[in-house]
């Protein structure tokens, strides 16, 4: 009985002292992984910016459920503590589900810090020359993909 009185006295005191916190709507859990490694597995983050064929968009919690295909570009993850992380992806898919879980599955992903801009420029020029020398439709499309990746790499670095 004494303990319950103590508890009831504590509770109202707490609500006076703590200021109201800014809330982002219910947490968004992100699973971000690529063929070679895993970046997030169900971690709670604030926001994710993804480059997709239907346009670049940022995903926060309670985003409308959608599917999108990633285009070569930079995915920016804004963590809960305010820090952001840029990771370059080559292709993949994004799924936003109704319960605020987001799955980004990339074919290959590397943090921007690991990429070298001179090598990226070389890659782009090589892809462009391949495109000019391509004969069949398939080769042309493959070279086109190489150019897209190269351009996105150079832009990101």
């Amino acid at each position: 009985m004494a303990t319950s009185r103590v508890v009831s006295r504590l509770l109202p005191r707490r609500s006076f002292n703590t200021p109201p916190k800014r809330g982002y709507a219910d947490k968004m859990r992100l699973t971000f992984c690529a063929g070679n490694q895993m970046f997030h597995n169900g971690d709670t983050v604030r926001q994710v910016d993804v480059p997709s064929f239907s346009g670049c968009f940022g995903i926060l919690a309670e985003h409308v459920p959608t599917l999108a295909i990633l285009r070569p570009g930079v995915v920016t993850v804004f963590e809960d503590d305010g820090s952001e992380r840029k990771i370059f992806v080559s292709s993949g898919t994004v799924t936003v589900n109704a319960d605020s879980t987001v799955q980004i599955l990339a074919e290959e992903a590397h943090p921007i810090e690991n990429l070298d801009s001179t090598t990226a420029k070389e890659m782009l020029s090589k892809a462009q020359s391949l495109f000019l020398s391509a004969t069949t439709d398939e080769d042309k499309v493959e070279a086109q993909i190489g150019i897209e990746v190269g351009e996105a790499l150079v832009e990101a670095l």
Partner: protein, 293 residues
Amino acid sequence: MLGRFGTLTPLLQNVQIQQQQRGMATLKSISIRLKSVKNIQKITQSMKMVSAAKYSRAERELKAVRPIGDGAKQFYEKAEIAALPDIPQKLVIAITSDRGLCGACHTSVARHIRTELNKDNQNIKVVCVGDKSRAILQRIYGKNIILACNEIGRLPPTFIDASKLADAILRSDYQFSSGEIVFNRFRSVVSYVTETLPVFSLASVTAAPKLSVYDSLDDEVIQSYLEFSLAALVFYAMKEGACSEQSSRMTAMDNASKNAGEMIEKLTLTFNRTRQAVITRELIEIISGASAL
């Protein structure tokens, strides 16, 4: 006269051969057998070391790849996609490898598929990844196999392999509404479980009731999404299968080495016993020969 001598010598030879054949009593045959079992033990021990090394690498890679499998499955579960009732065609992808001596890995996958094929022979087509599943299923269900891949199992699977396979499946023009990937999911060093992952076609996805929850989707996006997600699921299944296979081979080779060791012990005891018996027999012959004088 010659005839009588002729029949006598083969009889003598027969008696000698019978004495030699009695229960492997010759030293020579036991020592040959001992040498071969020792060689086998060396081979199985080295196979165990090799697969232990491959297993540790496969397990490390699997840990990084697990979220891909879970992530790719999520969409199908959350959108509650199901097979279309009016297109009963199914596609089954069997994930095995080319190499044997790995316990029951390949047979459990093949058995799962065989029970499915027993129920419905006409509407199921199989893609065999790895020669082992093709060998097991070819005899009775050869007509149901549409694609077979080999050179699996030598190197760890990469996403490129999985995407080539997904590409080949989608190009094969087999109209299916649903399907499954049958593989061995790795649980621990000593256990794995044969499980399935779902595969759906564009038609089943667009017919799903919960699809309208997802915003701004057109057929092209869904098609690309399905292609990528098929590659991701196949990649995940191949990784799990490789890890289960290496761990299973490790335990199988370990058991084989232990059994070979037991055989070596028993053979060595028989060898020593036989050696002592031969020496005793020679001594008896000498002594009885000497006492006859």
